[in-house]
Amino acid sequence: MSFPIRVLVAKPGLDGHDRGARIIARALRDAGMEVIYTGLRQTPEMIVNAALQEDVQVIGLSILSGAHNAIVPRVLELLREKEMAGVKVIVGGIIPDEDARDLERQGVAAVFQPGASLETIVSAVRQAAEHSTQPAVK
């Protein structure tokens, strides 16, 4: 039998607007995944540590504050440092087009902007988990 996909939904930075993060977390859970929601104001270090401890294949970051260019590269860097580059990172939020392309070039698996449907997001997480080289269970 196959193990369920494990995904960490995280809200980095100082922003507290968690409507999107919570909706996504619920939708992924309804789609049969095991979802760990970090809660608010997580630093990149806290997020990567949680990902390690929870043994996830995918990290979803929700960022609405415009701080994505400071936060996301740091998360990617920490994943590489901890030899967890197999964990796929997906970003959702208010991310301008050029920043989105830039983040994808840096290694983000997908970027979702406002108005993206839950269906596309769920299937992107599924696809990212398939490509993740992080084992579902140790």
């Binding site: 100082l14 607007h17 409507r19 977390a25 619920r26």
Partner: protein
């Protein structure tokens, strides 16, 4: 049942007999970005364009009580509003803007008392007296725990700070609203109109209870409580929501608290069009949405109004978009003719039915929260948070299934999206603010900073229910010594501790 006239208790149809025939609403566009200097330039521009009041947006580090040079501020300085780390920044923000004449609203919550102390200190420097300054502090911490989640301290310590500001305003600044009890953010977090109405009014009752317990008389402070509601898409429901809010508040003030002054009964509110209704796709559609929402707020009798800009699903507004948003209000005010009579749709079967339904639904919610032991107890058990999360998820499912239509997003999509010019805030704002702080810390009298912070720590540690330990005087001393926001909030964190929400889905 006959409907009372506008200006008559319980003010369902409006708090004034003549409403906009006597005085238009205040056109108050929320703005702030990059640096205090940049924001000051935008304020002067908006005042030149006919805006009649200012409304300050602070950036996230400021909202969370961190200075611009704090590690957690990295990447966030000036992004969502203006950074204010010290009195020096506040001086820049209002340079050349006479605070004895212009009324200023400030969207700040956890560190509201500190920011207000800075504001009052700058007004005094300009020569204005406390009696002359007018404006509004948002200062509504309960909706932070419920919806927007920008909290620092635990609920009871936060409520003590709020009560300190209400008491100080009651005694010293008769023209300043120390709080704007806000449904706006509750709605943005995904609540229904009914939940917005009910939770906001119940929050209001909680502030009243705390002020009474402090020893203030209801009619001394209730007239200065103000409200802030969302103006969302459902046109008639929104108008009914404002009507039901006025009616319920008047009855609650009179019957639950025995308020005798008519001004205590009158619910005054600011409205802002719904940010969460703006779409990234086909951004010009947002102008139409905002116009309709603003019209509902005006027909609902708002005292002041902010209209969102078409580009705000993308970024903070460009100057062009901000001007168009202000023009939207001016067209409603001066061309549409709806200002001729108060509550023009009052008496319509549908509107009256909606008003009564919202009123009775809100009464049910208020009773349930009373039974839990009040709003703080309800927040601690996660009740309003869970109600909102459920409503927000249900709405999203409806969007997903096409039951709820968003033009340009899940219906009538364009083949190719048009792109618009948006405002970008670069990293230089953070560098400039950090350098200013470095120089300030070198220049100021650091012994005096330490002394005032120690007084603040000592006073904060005393049981806050006694009014001779109101924290506003020590806060004023600390900000005048140029203690920074981060230093002051740091001192209060040491005494009060911090709050974290249990994460749940």
């Amino acid at each position: 049942m006959t409907l009372p006239e506008p200006g008559q208790f319980p003010y369902t149809r409006g708090i004034h007999q003549n409403m906009y025939r006597s005085r238009l609403w205040t056109m108050r566009q929320f703005s702030g970005f990059s640096t205090p200097e940049e924001t000051n330039r935008r304020y002067r521009y908006l005042l030149e364009q006919g805006q009649t009041g200012l409304s300050v947006a602070f950036d996230l580090p400021t909202l969370m009580g961190y200075d611009a040079d704090h590690g957690l501020a990295h990447g966030e300085v000036g992004k969502c509003g203006a950074p204010v780390s010290s009195l020096e920044d506040m001086e820049m923000l209002f340079d050349g803007i006479p605070l004895d004449k212009v009324s200023v609203s400030m969207t700040i919550n956890s560190p509201a008392a500190v920011i207000w102390a800075m504001y009052l200190a700058v007004a005094q420097q300009q020569g204005a007296s406390f009696a002359q300054v007018s404006g509004t502090l948002q200062n509504d911490i309960l909706k932070e725990y419920i919806a927007q989640k920008e909290y620092i301290f635990p609920p009871r310590a936060s409520m003590r700070l709020v009560t300190d500001t209400i008491e100080f305003a009651t005694k010293q600044t008769p023209r300043f609203n120390p709080i704007s009890i806000s449904g706006y953010h509750i709605r943005e977090a995904g609540s229904t109109a009914l939940q917005e109405l009910a939770f906001t009014l119940r929050d209001g009752l909680e502030y009243v209870d705390w002020a009474l317990e402090r020893g203030l008389a209801i009619d001394d402070f209730a007239p200065r409580l103000s409200f802030f509601f969302n103006a969302h898409n459902d046109f008639c429901e929104e108008i009914a929501k404002y009507r039901a809010a006025r009616k319920l508040w008047a009855l609650l003030m009179r019957d639950r608290y025995g308020a005798r002054d008519e001004r205590s009964w009158r619910l005054r509110f600011h409205a802002q069009t719904a940010g969460c209704s703006l779409t990234w796709q086909q951004p010009y559609n947002n102008v139409v949405r905002t116009s309709l929402q603003a019209m509902a707020a005006v027909l609902g009798g708002a005292q002041s109004l902010h209209t969102n800009s078409l580009d705000e699903a993308w970024a903070l507004p460009s100057e062009y978009a901000a001007t168009l948003a202000l023009r939207t209000q001016q067209v409603i005010a001066f061309e549409s003719g709806v200002t001729a009579v108060p509550d023009p749709f009052g008496g319509s079967d549908y509107l009256e039915r909606l008003t009564l339904d919202l009123e009775s639904g809100a009464r049910d919610y208020i009773r349930r929260i009373d039974d839990m032991g009040g709003m703080i107890a309800a927040i601690e058990r996660g009740f309003p948070q869970a109600e909102i999360a459920r409503a927000s998820y249900e709405y999203q499912r409806k969007v997903e299934q096409g039951e709820a239509v968003i033009v340009g997003v899940n219906r009538y999509r364009a083949g190719k999206e048009e792109s618009i010019e948006t405002l970008r805030i670069d990293q230089s704002a953070q560098d400039r603010q950090t350098e200013k702080l470095r120089q300030l810390r070198k220049r100021r009298n650091n012994g005096e900073v330490e002394r005032t912070l120690n007084v603040l720590r000592r006073e904060a540690a005393v049981n806050g229910r006694e009014s001779d330990h109101n924290l506003m005087p020590p806060l004023l001393d600390a900000v005048r010594a140029y203690a920074t926001l981060g230093e002051i909030c740091g001192a209060l964190r040491e005494v009060f501790g911090t709050y974290e929400e249990r994460p749940n889905i």
